[in-house]
């Protein structure tokens, strides 16, 4: 089995849900024999199962058997790394959170070692719980190049040009190493809104972060159903309209005041005011369907909605149109690490062949089959 039909079958089952072989063949415009061959392989690999029968056709006869992805067996890991700690999860293909762990970052000055340690801690728990992921996504604060597995620059971690391990060992028990994919933390927060197959096309994710006493905001943009990273992975930088960008603070408000967010309502009110004043042009220029708040901004939804509705001109679209929807990341405190796992699923389903993914030496369907076999 080394064709391109397999990813198409998996993508269709994920997007459209369970269906019989004959329906798969019809939707994909493939021969039934090709679909049967692929499906038999997937059933043998343990990622697809026969999940009941449909009603008989009008002409009677045998009722077609319905095929479904075994969501509980397709597992991805996600890690959020900050200067102080890591937080990690295992998600399944249906978007269920299967395992959660966290710990202190014992390598605050060495992100490569910190990622390795966090991945090892997650894999160790995952193996014990028989929840081995096919890959681990890692969210890092800063400019990240996923194709080269490189942390280009991070002010929060105070490093430049750090290579991150492209594979992590399977907990030292003779298991195959699993791929590690890195991305920016705000991007990961946005990836989280796309999993599992949410059908969202355009959204803007606003992630509030705290590093020590420093409060910062990063943006993740989903355009046309995928996270957009920009030229040289520099998309998503935020600065307030009240400051001159580059080198200085992100906000006109003082860090003394920002330190009180989100617990002090007056400070949160002033922050959201400056934030929405600055995001107005972006909302106008990008026309997202939804504004998603993550991290330290999760508790500020009501203030953001009030600012959007109360200030004339901020909504920046025709008065006749519906306002942009404001929501809080549905993953709660796991918004970034669950998003990192979501990113891994999106990469898997973007593969166009069993052994070929969107990134060189990145995640492939082969990794998924190997991990399911290990369970």
């Amino acid at each position: 089995m080394n064709g391109t039909a397999l990813p198409l079958v998996m993508r269709t089952l994920r997007r459209d849900g369970a269906m019989p072989r004959v329906e798969l063949a019809r939707r994909l415009g493939m021969d039934r024999s090709t679909v049967t061959h692929v499906v038999n392989y997937l059933i043998g690999a343990g990622v697809v199962a026969e999940a009941g029968v449909t009603d008989a056709s009008r002409r009677g006869g045998r009722r077609p058997v319905v095929l479904a992805i075994r969501d509980e067996r397709l597992l991805a890991g996600g890690v959020e790394l900050t200067a102080e700690r890591f937080r990690a999860v295992i998600l399944d293909n249906a978007g269920r959170l299967r395992l959660r762990t966290w710990g202190r970052n014992r390598h605050p000055n060495d992100p490569a070692a910190a990622v390795e340690a966090a991945c090892r801690a997650l894999m160790s728990r995952a193996v014990r719980a028989r929840l081995v992921p096919f890959a681990v996504g890692v969210a890092l604060p800063g400019i990240v190049d996923p194709a080269r597995s490189l942390l280009v620059r991070s002010d929060a971690l105070q490093v430049e040009a750090v290579s991150i391990i492209p594979r992590t060992a399977g907990a030292g028990s003779g298991r195959a190493a699993v791929p590690v994919m890195v991305d920016n933390d705000a991007n990961c927060c946005a990836w989280g809104e796309l999993h599992p197959a949410a059908g969202l096309e355009d959204l803007l994710c606003v992630l509030g972060r705290r590093t020590g006493d420093l409060f910062t905001v990063g943006l993740g943009l989903v355009a046309g159903g995928t996270v957009y990273r920009g030229r040289r992975f520099r998309a998503g930088e935020f600065f307030s309209v009240r400051v001159k960008p580059g080198g200085g603070p992100q906000f006109g408000l003082s860090q003394e005041l920002l330190r009180l967010v989100p617990h002090d309502s007056s400070a949160t009110e002033r922050l959201t005011g400056e934030l929405m004043e600055s995001l107005g042009p972006l909302i106008g220029a990008l026309d997202p369907a939804r504004l998603v708040l993550g991290g330290e901004l999760r508790g500020a939804r009501d203030q953001v909605v009030r600012k959007l509705c109360s200030r004339p001109g901020l909504q920046v679209v025709s008065a006749a149109m519906d306002p942009v929807e404001v929501s809080v990341s549905r993953w709660g405190r796991d918004d970034v690490c669950a998003g990192a796992a979501g990113m891994v699923f999106e990469q898997l389903f973007a593969c166009d062949a069993i052994d070929r993914g969107p990134l060189p030496d990145g995640i492939t369907w082969r990794d998924a089959f190997t991990s399911v076999e290990a369970q």
Partner: protein, 313 residues
């Protein structure tokens, strides 16, 4: 059936329809024509004019046409549905443009905002995948190309930077909001600003029609005209800078009638951007004049048709 070897790009403007016949494999048109737009005669007349333009381009029939692209003012969603407000062509509102044309001609069709299509054409012409286009004329529009694809947004509004609010207490705009960028930087507003600052008396008449006079005065060194244009470039830069921070484009293209008349404007915008954009974003981004002039909408519509044809084959 043999796949078509040509595509058609249509740019529907408030005063004219520009139509071009292109080979599928390259962006140089083999035939072009311009027809008057029946702007005030209702939707049916507009549709008839589009069909007539296609007929005039292909008198031998449409059997060799793989797809048609149509650029139009107004907000157009991914299904080709025109949402309000298309100020110049209000008859289109609520029309599923691509479906209607496709049904009448029996050829696959894609419709989009004219500024977005112009962005697509400028990106293809430069061979870049990340581009922000500003169309600066009577109104302000634009388009965004990310990773080689057009960003349309949730309601077809992406790239419409003319309706970004720059002053919540500013003048009322045709879109229903206050203080839109367009209300400060559109060609008629520039003439009004020149008058308000006490510029040398300009002839009486509609402010929009007098913009060439303002441009001529700017080019001859009139200090008030220069101050007006510098302030306008600063406002455009403010919105472009905010958008750049999240898109990190390779090129910002400043096109439209205003910079065509005052070619220094892209440089003025670039200079103003140094005050409102990250230095490292500017280091990796060029601010340039549009290359395709008023052909950009038509060429972009053809490009969108080409993409549609490739997706279907």
């Amino acid at each position: 059936m043999k796949p078509g070897r040509t595509i058609i790009g249509l740019d529907l403007g408030g005063s004219s329809i520009k139509a071009g016949l292109f080979p599928v494999e390259n962006s140089a048109p083999t035939r072009t024509l311009i027809l008057a737009t029946p702007a005030h005669e209702g939707c049916e007349s507009l549709m008839d004019a589009l069909i007539a333009a296609v007929g005039a381009l292909c008198p031998e029939g449409l059997s060799d046409v793989a797809a048609i692209g149509i650029g139009t003012p107004g907000l157009v969603d991914d299904n080709g549905l025109v949402h309000g407000p298309a100020v110049n062509l209000s008859a289109w509102q609520g029309t599923s443009l691509s479906a209607s044309v496709s049904e009448r001609l029996g050829v696959p069709c894609v419709a989009g905002n004219d500024g977005s299509f112009a962005a697509l054409a400028e990106a293809r012409d430069r061979g870049v995948r990340e581009l922000l286009f500003v169309s600066w004329g009577t109104g302000i529009g634009g388009g965004i190309v990310c990773d080689g694809r057009l960003v349309t947004g949730n309601r077809g509004m992406a790239g419409e930077i003319g309706h970004v609010c720059v002053d919540p207490s500013g003048p009322l705009c045709g879109c229903g909001q206050r203080g839109c960028l367009e209300r400060f930087t559109g060609a008629p507003e520039l003439v009004a600003a020149y008058r308000a600052r006490g510029g040398t008396a300009v002839p009486e008449g509609a402010d929009g029609a007098l913009f060439p006079e303002l441009a001529a005065r700017h080019q001859s060194g009139d200090p008030i005209a220069e101050a007006v244009m510098e302030a306008a470039a600063g406002m455009i830069a403010r919105v472009v800078g905010a958008t750049m921070s999240i898109l990190a484009p390779e090129v910002v293209v400043i096109g439209g009638g205003v910079p065509e008349a005052i070619p220094q404007l892209p440089d003025l915008v670039a200079r103003a951007l140094t005050q409102c954009s990250f230095p490292y974003l500017l280091e990796n981004c060029r601010v340039e004049s549009a290359r395709l002039g008023n052909r950009a909408g038509m060429a972009g519509a053809a490009e969108a048709a080409r993409n549609l044809s490739e997706r279907r084959s």
